[in-house]
C-alpha cells in the first residue's frame, strides 16, 4: 500500500501536538510494510527532501512570500502540496492508494487530487475551528469551517481521536456517524485500526 500524508506540521517543525502524532504514524506505517510519503511545510533545517527513519518526506515552501493572513498562506501553499503529490503519483506509475489529510490545511489539495486523479482520501481530525475560535463566526472562521465541511463531505472516511470529537463533528458539520472511525492515539489496536481504515478506503476507491 502506498499512501501520502498531508500535514502542515512535521518534525523538526513542531507547532502543536499534531507533528509528534503524524511522525509516530508515518514511522509505524513504514514498520507495517506500507510505503508512506509525507508532504509538509518547509523547515529551513531540512531542505526539500529527506528520509528520516525511512519516511520519504517532501517539504514545500510557499511561492508567495507575502501574506495578509493564515488563510491566504494556506490556500496558496496548497498548490505546492498538490504539485508534489501529483509528482509522486506520476513517478509511481499512477499507483497511489490514498491520501491521509491531517486537519483542514491541505483539504483543498486532497479534493482536487481526488477529482482529477481518483485518489481517495481520509480526513484525520485533530481539532476543529469552532473549538479553536470559541464559536466565533467571522468571515475568517467561516472560511476555515467551510473547508472542514468540504473535507468531511469529500473524504472517504473520517478518523477522529475520541468519541467526543465524533459527536462534535456530527454536531458542527453533520458528518455522518457511520463515516467516522474513532481511533484514540496510543490505544491498543491503534495501528491496526488505522490500517483497516486505509485498506477500506483504498479498496473502495474515490467515487
Amino acid at each position: 500500500m502506498r499512501e501520502i500524508i498531508f500535514s502542515w506540521e512535521y518534525p523538526p517543525r513542531i507547532v502543536g501536538q499534531l507533528a509528534a502524532y503524524v511522525k509516530t504514524l508515518a514511522v509505524q506505517l513504514v514498520t507495517s510494510q506500507t510505503e508512506p510519503y509525507v508532504v509538509t511545510y518547509d523547515d529551513y533545517l531540512t531542505g526539500e527532501y529527506d528520509e528520516p527513519e525511512g519516511v520519504k518526506t517532501f517539504r514545500v515552501t510557499n511561492p508567495v512570500h507575502t501574506h495578509i493572513g493564515v488563510l491566504t498562506w494556506v490556500l496558496t501553499l496548497n498548490q505546492e502540496v498538490e504539485r508534489v503529490a501529483a509528482n509522486i503519483y506520476y513517478d509511481k506509475s499512477r499507483q497511489v492508494d490514498l491520501i491521509d489529510v491531517h486537519d483542514w490545511h491541505f483539504i483543498p489539495a486532497a479534493v482536487t487530487l481526488k477529482k482529477a486523479l481518483n485518489i481517495p482520501f481520509v480526513y484525520s481530525v485533530e481539532s476543529l475551528e469552532d473549538h479553536r475560535s470559541h464559536g466565533s463566526n467571522s468571515p475568517f472562521n467561516m472560511a476555515i469551517k467551510s473547508i472542514e465541511w468540504l473535507g468531511m463531505y469529500e473524504a472517504s472516511r473520517l478518523v477522529v481521536k475520541s468519541e467526543w470529537m465524533r459527536d462534535e463533528a456530527f454536531r458542527l458539520h453533520r458528518a455522518p456517524i457511520e463515516k467516522m472511525n474513532v481511533i484514540p492515539p496510543g490505544s491498543t489496536g491503534w495501528m491496526k485500526g488505522i490500517l483497516a481504515v486505509y485498506k477500506n478506503t483504498a479498496e473502495a476507491g474515490a467515487s
Binding site: P63, V64, H65, T66, H67, I68, G69, L71, T72, L75, T76, N78, Q79, E82, R83, A86, N87, Y90, P108, A109, V111, T112, L113, K115, A116, L117, N118, S138, P139, F140, M142, A143, S146, I147
Partner: protein, 405 residues
C-alpha cells in the same frame, strides 16, 4: 493530434457576469477559437440567472459555485473561489472523453486554479496578463498588494507562455516579473464591429435626445471612475472645451471618484453640461458610442485600451492619451488624436480639434474603421492564438511530462 484541440479557459468573469475587459475578451476569443475548429470549455464564476452549463456560440460554458460566504477581503475571496473552481474544473476535465490539451488562465484571479490543474493533469498552462497590480496601483504599497504581485509573478513563472495584448504590456510584464523575452507573446485584443453595424441609424436621434440637446456635440467617456482611467483629467479639460464648443460631456461608468468628480463639476458651474450615467447596459453603451461626436480615453495607465477600439468600431473619432496600449492602437492624426497623458490643456486641444473640423473628423473615422477590420478582428486573433497553442504543444510532446504521463 487525434482529436480537435481541446482548451480549458479559466476566467473569473464571463458574460453575463461582466466586471471589466476580461469578460468580453474571453467571450470573443473562445467563440472565435471554436469557429476555427477548437473545442473550448470555459470555466467561470456563477451569476444570478445564468445557467450552470450552457453551449454559447459553440463554446461549452460551465459556471462554478464561487465562494459565497462573506469573505475577509477581496483577495482571500479570490483564493477561496479558486479552490472551488479548481475542484469543479478537475472533475469536468476528468469526465471529458477527449483529454484537455491545455489550460489557459486569465489574470491572477484564476492563478491558483490554473497552476493546480496544470500539475495534476500535466498539461501546459497559458496565462494572459490583462493587467498587473504594480501597474494598477502605480507601485506596490502594502502587504496586500505585494501578495497579489507575487501571485501574478508565480502565475507567469508556471505558465509555458505569457500572452499580453500590446507591446507596451509585454515590456511592462517583463519588467514587473523579470521574464525572458522568448516566454512572451503579443496578441492584440479584438473588437466585434458587427454589433455596431447592426444598430438602426434611424432610431438614433430619438435615443440621442435622451442624453443631449440636438445642438450639443457629445463628448463620451466610458470606463471605471478611478484614478488610472484619467477621468479627472477630462473633468478638468471640460471648461476649456466648453469655451469653444457647445458640448455635452457624458461620463459612463462607476467608481470611487464619482462623488468627488460630480462635486468638482458643480463647483465649476458646468453641472448642466456634464452627465454621469453610471453603469449602462450593452445596448445603451453601443448607442452612445455610435452617437458620440468624439470618444475620449484619457487613461494614465492602460494595458490595452479596448474602449478606444470599440469607439473606432462604432465610427466615433477618438482622442487618447499617448500611453500604454493606447499609443499602439492610434496613429496620431491618421486614425485618431493623441494627447499628453494627465494634461487637461492637451486633452482639451484634442477634443476641440475634432469637434471643430468635421472634414478631418470624418477622415479619422474612416481610417480607424479600416484599421479595426484589418488588425483587430477576432478571427485573425484566434488564428494567431491557435498558432501559439500548437507551437507549445509541439514542444510539450517532446517533454518528459508527455512521454511519461
Amino acid at each position: 493530434m487525434d482529436h480537435d484541440l481541446t482548451i480549458m479557459m479559466l476566467t473569473w468573469e464571463f458574460p453575463p457576469r461582466t466586471i471589466g475587459g476580461i469578460s468580453p475578451h474571453v467571450y470573443y476569443l473562445s467563440k472565435s477559437l471554436a469557429k476555427n475548429g477548437a473545442k473550448v470549455y470555459v470555466v467561470t464564476c456563477d451569476f444570478p440567472g445564468a445557467p450552470q452549463h450552457e453551449v454559447l456560440d459553440g463554446v461549452e460554458v460551465f459556471r462554478i459555485d464561487s465562494y459565497k460566504n462573506p469573505s475577509p477581503d477581496f483577495a482571500t475571496w479570490v483564493y477561496l473561489m479558486n479552490m472551488n473552481m479548481q475542484k469543479e474544473a478537475a472533475a469536468l476535465a476528468k469526465s471529458l472523453k477527449a483529454k484537455v490539451d491545455l489550460f489557459h488562465a486569465h489574470d491572477w484571479l484564476v492563478a491558483t486554479a490554473g497552476i493546480g490543474l496544470k500539475h495534476v493533469f500535466r498539461r501546459p498552462l497559458f496565462a494572459t496578463m490583462h493587467s498587473t497590480e504594480i501597474g494598477r496601483r502605480n507601485g506596490i504599497h502594502s502587504d496586500y498588494e505585494r501578495m497579489i504581485h507575487e501571485t501574478e509573478a508565480w502565475l507567469t513563472y508556471e505558465a509555458w507562455k505569457v500572452i499580453c495584448c500590446s507591446d507596451y504590456m509585454v515590456s511592462h510584464v517583463r519588467w514587473a516579473f523579470g521574464l525572458p523575452p522568448d516566454k512572451m507573446m503579443m496578441i492584440p485584443n479584438g473588437v466585434n464591429a458587427d454589433v455596431y453595424a447592426a444598430i438602426k441609424k434611424n432610431e438614433l436621434s430619438q435615443f440621442r435626445s435622451r442624453f443631449a440637446l440636438p445642438e450639443e456635440k457629445i463628448v463620451l467617456f466610458v470606463g471605471r471612475l478611478v484614478h488610472e482611467k484619467g477621468v479627472h483629467v477630462l473633468v478638468n479639460a471640460a471648461p476649456k472645451v466648453l469655451e469653444k464648443v457647445n458640448a455635452k460631456i457624458i461620463i459612463v461608468g462607476n467608481g470611487y471618484m464619482k462623488e468627488q468628480l460630480s462635486g468638482i463639476v458643480k463647483g465649476m458651474g458646468i453641472a448642466h453640461k456634464v452627465l454621469f450615467t453610471g453603469f449602462v447596459d450593452d445596448e445603451t453603451l453601443r448607442g452612445l458610442q455610435t452617437c458620440a461626436d468624439v470618444s475620449v480615453v484619457p487613461s494614465l495607465f492602460e494595458p490595452f485600451g479596448i474602449v478606444a477600439l470599440e469607439a473606432m468600431a462604432a465610427k466615433s473619432p477618438v482622442v487618447v492619451s499617448d500611453t500604454g496600449g493606447l499609443a499602439e492602437i492610434v496613429d496620431h492624426d491618421v486614425d485618431g488624436v493623441k494627447v499628453y497623458p494627465g494634461n487637461p490643456d492637451s486633452l482639451a486641444w484634442g477634443i476641440t480639434r475634432i469637434l471643430t473640423d468635421e472634414t478631418n473628423a470624418n477622415r479619422l473615422r474612416s481610417n480607424a474603421c479600416k484599421k479595426i477590420q484589418e488588425r483587430f478582428n477576432w478571427d485573425r486573433i484566434a488564428q494567431q492564438t491557435m498558432g501559439v497553442y500548437e507551437a507549445v504543444l509541439g514542444e510539450y510532446s517532446k517533454s518528459f511530462w508527455a512521454q511519461k504521463s
